[in-house]
Structures are given as structure tokens and as C-alpha cells.
């Protein structure tokens, strides 16, 4: 299975331009699954909730999702993407799993980071995995990395690949995700953005270093901090179904949940 990420710099508020850039870049590659960053088309650093509502889309009426679905159909691949979601009077920092058939699954970020707490509603959809080709896909978003429970929950539900759209501003996550893959014996794909987002209320600098990690915790590929990077590798998702750390040790069978 050919999986990867597209690390780039969305321009704040330039949804059509960002969408065109992504569709153009992805139209040139051969892949089965590509992960895009958090809030991939609107940009990240919203002033307030009102500004989120201005740019957010309903999943049932979304130019972004329609365009990505068309791309998936044309390329016969799957996408995981951050999505600025409006739902009635609420707005969520969401992630969508999209295939040739359209929207497959919606995840709403459970753990809001920093000023997101002032702009978004907390996620309200249980963690869930979905079948994509011969693999099972779990989604989490950015700051969810701190909470081992998220990737654990997805892995226990059978996730082979954890897709992790991100807009990281701290320096910890990339190293921690090696642990998340190792402790659950799953692949992880962290798709981060690059660049500085300058807004009237301040600037945010993103850390790049999007990465692909193997179930044994090995770093398969890591992008640089600043450069845009569209990177695809071949993996065997079945490798994530072997939870053995050694011949006698299995990180799932060895659990003692009655003591947790």
C-alpha cells in the first residue's frame, strides 16, 4: 500500500487557492492514501469563533470535500485531511476520511489546543477505525498526540495506520509519535504544515517535520522543518497486526486492563 503525506503552507483564508494547490500537487502522484495537515484549507490561527464560522463548511455542503472526492475518484485513492467544520451552530476542528465514494468518516478533534479552546467546540464523536483497501485507518488530530489513550483506543479497535493531520507549534510531537507507533505496533503518519502564519492578533510558526513511522517505532521518513514535502512510501499494513515485541512478548496480549 502506497501511503504518504503532503506537508505544505496553507494561506490563511485562501480556501480556493489552497484547494487548487493541493489538488494540483496530488494529481501528479501515484498513491493509495495521503494525509494532509490539520485545518488544511482555511489556515489555522483564527481570531475568534466568528471567524471560524465564516470559513467553516458543513460536511454535507462542502466545496473542499466535493473537490477532494472528485480527486479521489480520478486518482482512485483515499485522503485524510484536516477540515474546518461547521455543524448547525457549532464548529469543530475535524478530520475527514474521503475516498472515491465520498466522505467515509468524520472525526472531531477531542483535545483542543490553546486558543482553539476559544474558537472551536470540543469533539463529540467516539474514536473509530474504518476499512480502506486492505487496511484499517484511525484518525487523530495534532494535540491528541499528548494523550496516549487516543492512539491506544484506535489501535485496540484494529487500526493499522494512524493518520494524524497536524499544525504543530511545539517541538515534542514528532518524537512522541515514535512511542505511539511502538507501544501500539501501528504505522503512524503525521502530516504537519510549514511556515509562519501572520495574523493581526499574532504570528504562529509551524514545525514541519511531517513523518511516517513503522510499528516498531522506526522513523521511515521525516520531512524538514521548512520545505514543502509530498512523500509516499510502500508499506504492508499487515505488519501492524503482529503485536509481538519479541517471540514471547505481545503488547496487546500482555495488557492487564483490570489494573489500569
Amino acid at each position: 500500500m502506497r501511503v504518504g503525506f503532503y506537508q505544505y503552507k496553507p494561506l490563511f483564508g485562501k480556501v480556493s487557492k489552497n484547494l487548487a494547490k493541493v489538488c494540483n500537487a496530488l494529481s501528479k502522484i501515484e498513491a493509495d492514501l495521503i494525509v494532509l495537515p490539520e485545518l488544511a484549507f482555511t489556515g489555522y490561527y483564527f481570531a475568534d469563533r466568528k471567524e471560524v464560522m465564516h470559513y467553516a463548511e458543513e460536511v454535507s455542503n462542502s466545496i473542499c470535500i466535493d473537490s477532494l472526492t472528485a480527486l479521489c475518484r480520478e486518482k482512485n485513492f483515499y485522503l485524510v485531511s484536516g477540515f474546518t467544520e461547521r455543524h448547525k451552530d457549532k464548529c469543530f476542528n475535524s478530520s475527514v476520511l474521503i475516498g472515491p465514494q465520498g466522505l467515509i468518516h468524520l472525526y472531531r478533534k477531542l483535545h483542543l489546543f490553546n486558543t482553539e479552546k476559544n474558537c472551536f467546540d470540543e469533539g463529540d464523536i467516539p474514536l473509530q477505525v474504518n476499512a480502506v483497501m486492505d487496511s484499517k485507518i484511525g484518525m487523530m488530530v495534532c494535540y491528541d498526540w499528548v494523550f496516549a489513550e487516543v492512539s491506544r483506543k484506535l489501535a485496540l479497535q484494529g487500526a493499522d495506520i494512524i493518520c494524524h493531520p497536524s499544525n504543530l507549534v511545539l517541538s515534542y510531537c514528532q518524537q512522541v509519535m515514535l512511542t505511539r507507533s511502538l507501544e501500539n505496533r501501528v504505522f503512524s503518519i503525521t502530516s504537519n504544515r510549514t511556515g509562519v502564519e501572520k495574523r493581526p492578533h499574532g504570528d504562529l510558526k509551524f514545525t514541519g517535520k511531517s513523518q511516517l513511522v513503522a510499528p516498531n517505532g522506526d522513523l521511515l521518513f521525516r520531512a524538514t522543518t521548512q520545505k514543502e514535502s509530498l512523500h509516499v512510501i510502500d508499506i504492508d499494513p499487515a505488519y501492524a497486526r503482529d503485536k509481538s515485541l519479541t517471540a514471547l512478548d505481545n503488547v496487546f496480549d500482555d495488557r492487564r486492563p483490570q489494573y489500569y
Copy 2:
């Protein structure tokens, strides 16, 4: 609070000699809490359950615990140590918290590693923290590092310092423990052993690199792979009670346990 570890090479089956070595080394230092390796006095690589039973002691009738208690009284400090425990017809890979008043708490390793599965019974005591001076101490043993639930459980119970007697043979743990400290904002002290243990049934090489980690995931000190090392540093346990990652993010308050 002055805390540290003693990384050394126990000689298999030479309990008195190992005990004398530890007591001699620790008699020369000023500290409040020292962590010793897993199975600190018997050695690690048992042939079978019968051999464990031969060397194991009951906590209520233990030369090791009596000697360590005497040392704690003399030095007015606390020790966490791996302990080869016999209890009726069972045997456990345990850890003991000892102070001037004697045995304070017993922990029995919940996750047995590799051939330990053939030699020991699985731990049967709930994870618990104990007050030591102005801090709260949690104990876990070696392979427990894989299971994020262990350090999480201890941290949620208020552990400031996770004491982690180990006999590590794989290469992952030291890096993962940086994550364990960071995700829980606790200090961790991993006390590993050095050297190769040669037994008739095979050799095991231990990885050393005992370490002290801060609640922000910073490595405060790491020993080398092979050299014995008795290292003590000053820490403020109260630092572990601030669970803030940033001014707006708190790794405990931000949890969404209803979704885990």
C-alpha cells in the same frame, strides 16, 4: 529533594555480596531517595521457577529488606529496589519502597517480560502511590514501560516521581520514558543494570543508560551503557504537580476520559 539511582552489575545468586556492595556504595552518599535496579540482589536470568523460589525471600522475613531498612535508618533516606519475592507458593518480580520505618509499599510487576513469564507469577496488587517526605512516589518495573496505562495510572493518583527499577535488554525504553514523563508531567527515575549475565541456559546483555527525566520530558542525566553509576540530583517534586503544557493547556484537565 535529592534523588538518584545506582546502576551496577549484580552477580547472579550472590545475594550477600550484592547487598554488601549496594550498602557500601550508598553509605557514602547524601540523598533522600535512591532507586536500585530490578531483582537487584539475586540477579535476573533465572533458569526456571524452581531457581527463583530458591533465591526469593518473603517480605516479612528478608535479609535484603532488613539490611536496606537499617541503611535507610542510618542514612535517613528512602530506597526503591527490585526484589525477588516469594509469597507462599507464589513468586513475584517485585519492587519495594523502604524507609527508616521499614517496608512502606510492595509492588508486584504487572507485565512480565519474556522468560519471566515462565519463572514468576503475574503481579496482583493495584498500582498505588505513597508519600515520601514532600513527594508522592509511584513504582513500576522494567517492561511496564511499554504500557502507557501504568505511568498514567500512577500519575493520576498523584505520583510526582515514578521510580522504575529495570533490567533492560532492549533498546527502546530510555527514549520512551521521556514520553512517559512528558505526557504525565512527572519525574521518572529508571535504574537499569549493566553487564552480561552468563548462565548455562544463555547470556543476557543489559543496556545501562539509567536516567533521570523531568516533567517536561527533559533528560536530566543519563548514565553510560556499561559503567556503574551512582548519581544523585536535586529536584523539586512540586514541579510535577503543575500539569500545564502551556498557559492554556493542561494534560490532565484536557483529558476526555469518556472517549477513551
